[in-house]
Amino acid sequence: MSASQQFRVCPTTGLKVYSDAQSLIKANAVAAVIFLAIGGLFGLSVALTRWPDVHLLPMDWFYLALTAHGLDVLLCWIIFFEVAVLYFASAVLLNCRLASPRTAWVAFWLMIIGAVLTNITILQGDSTVMFTSYTPLKAAPNFYLGLIIFAVGALVACGVFFGTLVIAKDERTYEGSVPLVTFGALTAAIIAVFTLASGAIILVPTWLWSLGYISNIDPLMYKLVWWAMGHSSQQINVSAHVSIWYAVAAILLGAKPLSEKASRLAFLLYIFFLQLASAHHLLVEPGVGSEWKIFNTSYAMYLAVLGSMIHAMTVPGTIEAAQRRRGFNKGMFEWLRKAPWGNPAFSGVFMSLVMFGFLGGISGVVLGTEQINLIMHNTLYVPGHFHATVVTGTTLTFMAVTYLLIPLLFQREIMFPRLAKWQPYVFAIGAAGISLFMMGAGTLGVPRRHWDITFADAIFPYQIPSAGFLMMALNGISAVFAATGGIMYIVNVVASVFFGKRTADAPAKASAPEPVMARPVVAEYGSAGTMYIPGTIFLVGVFFVSFVLYYFVNWKYLAEVWPLR
């Protein structure tokens, strides 16, 4: 174990960074970015095909690209990055060595092999079954095998994370309770175990079915269990990116949680209730009862939504409290105006926070309402919603925190600071556009996963409302923006990681102008004196009013469609 005992002390944070942990975080982060690049290009080609005037790809390539896009960004990019986050939140934040680095490398290579195998199988062309691979559509056996290998690798990585927590506790590398960010990462890891186990439970028999050893996979059972992986894996994202919001606020502004208890309670609600969300995909399905649908789709009376709504106040609240502490105390919003908007880590995180809440959160609850789902299910509204959560939420946050990780872990300066400064804005505008315009098209009935909404080849063509075509054109333009932002990110990250100036022992300047870790801020949390956050209260009020209005507007739309019993 001598190799794993080698460490350096980070000059910025004063934390011990063990070389094994550092290499593993780097490897997983680099793999994540590579899959983001591949998956992003597939995504761009899909959006350009959906733009009726461009209609880029031929039919078979469109469906193939759509299958690969889902796999590479939703699974590979996000899970690889999350493994990096888990190792960071355990080994680095707890000042500890990583448990069994060798096992962690096995996990890494399993994930690589699985991801590559599934990608190759998709590109061979006989596994165009979409990322969801609903049975009875059948892919080649290696499609499922790759996913299983990937899931096993990710599960092993979670084990390394749990092991590291045990070591840290045993070796007393920290005092008292684990930091909030580690707690959030632990939430993500617990959900990940549930998620990956569900994936194995359904994908192993499906793999055997595609090999011919099992005669039938019930399509409803498949869907129920598959979404216990498919949707819950998005809850890993939520836990991970909310943790990063707290982390970035702490690193950049020295922000403290308003109340450890409230924030941890919110994470705890995620652990208990988020996994019921498989029901979101079964709301207009035959064979499941309304009682089951209502209980599960609402996460048992919206208790997981409650968790997110708590974070919706506590995250901006910690930022406001920290900024006021630093002297930006004028009026309601000086703290926000004078926030470090030129720092991509901050601007990315704050835009992600706003867009995740307003676009992703509200649309998700509305879409997941049992009856309202009737007027949205499988229209483009669905991808509109989850691009708001996964792209403006998770991806934008992961991009933002990369600008901090490069100097801290790779010990390189950001090569093009000006590019980094603008990148989150370009990407956020594009991603927000994608979400909004797809949701708009969905409310007009435009179907998802559809190559040609002009229905040129159909014997009974349907004329989509012309506004639908406009929405798809705007979606295409937004995708070009988002792809530009994505390329700006990838070019900068790759250039910095491989060719950036070494930071030596000086703290990083380029992206994080002044990490103020040591500055004493918000004296006591939980005490009344520090809770002056009028700006946050105002923002939360706006959020709540928008939420209530949008919710009931959709009930009104529902009430106008044909009666069903």
Binding site: S177, A250, K256, N378, G445, I453, P465, G526, W562, P563
Partner: protein, 186 residues
């Protein structure tokens, strides 16, 4: 800070500030409101999809649909029968690659017992421009009551990916005035 252990080791004993507590209570109550809105809509709303479902083989369902089509066919369109079942009666609609079969002609204001099933893959029943969307699974016969409230020519699209012809899967659905004359051949 959020990246360091809580300064107060007994952090769970700190009171939650009033502002935060009020928000938690509001959010909790809002969750309850949304939950009971769904329940309430089952009592007063008109758009509640029934969950009545039977297991059935594609062949058996197809036979039922064919029997209905034979009995109530009013004309053909491009070789596909247009069927006008009696109001209040059972209507069988099957999704297969890549069409909805048969074409239906319904009367405005009348209720029909719709039976939906799929032949080989899952399909998505997407009635446009009304925008009612229902998942259709092979092996399951889903029965619910639907009442058209507008006349005209509507379209049933497929919004679940079902192979390379998915984007061509669209069939008309006609709604005529109640009691309107049957038009055997158009």
């Amino acid at each position: 800070m959020a990246i360091t252990s809580p300064a107060n080791r007994l952090w769970w004993k700190e009171p939650i500030h009033r502002v935060e507590l009020i928000w938690i209570v509001i959010a909790f109550l809002w969750g309850l409101a949304m939950f009971f809105t769904m329940v309430y809509w089952h009592a007063i709303g008109e758009q509640n999809l029934a969950n009545t479902t039977y297991k059935i083989t594609p062949a058996a369902f197809s036979a039922k649909a064919e029997r209905m089509a034979e009995q109530y066919k009013v004309r053909d369109e491009l070789g596909i029968p247009v069927v006008r079942p009696p109001p209040g009666g059972d209507v069988y609609l099957l999704g297969r690659i890549w069409m909805w079969w048969p074409i239906l002609e319904l009367e405005k204001g009348q209720s029909y017992r719709i039976h939906l099933s799929a032949m080989e893959y899952s399909h998505g029943f997407s009635l446009q421009p009304v925008n009612i969307n229902i998942q259709v699974q092979p092996g399951y016969e889903h029965v619910f009551t639907m009442t058209p409230t507008d006349t005209g020519e509507f379209s049933i699209l497929c919004n679940e990916y079902c192979g390379f012809g998915h984007h061509t899967m669209a069939s008309p659905l006609y709604v005529v005035e109640s009691g309107a004359a049957r038009s055997p051949q158009e």
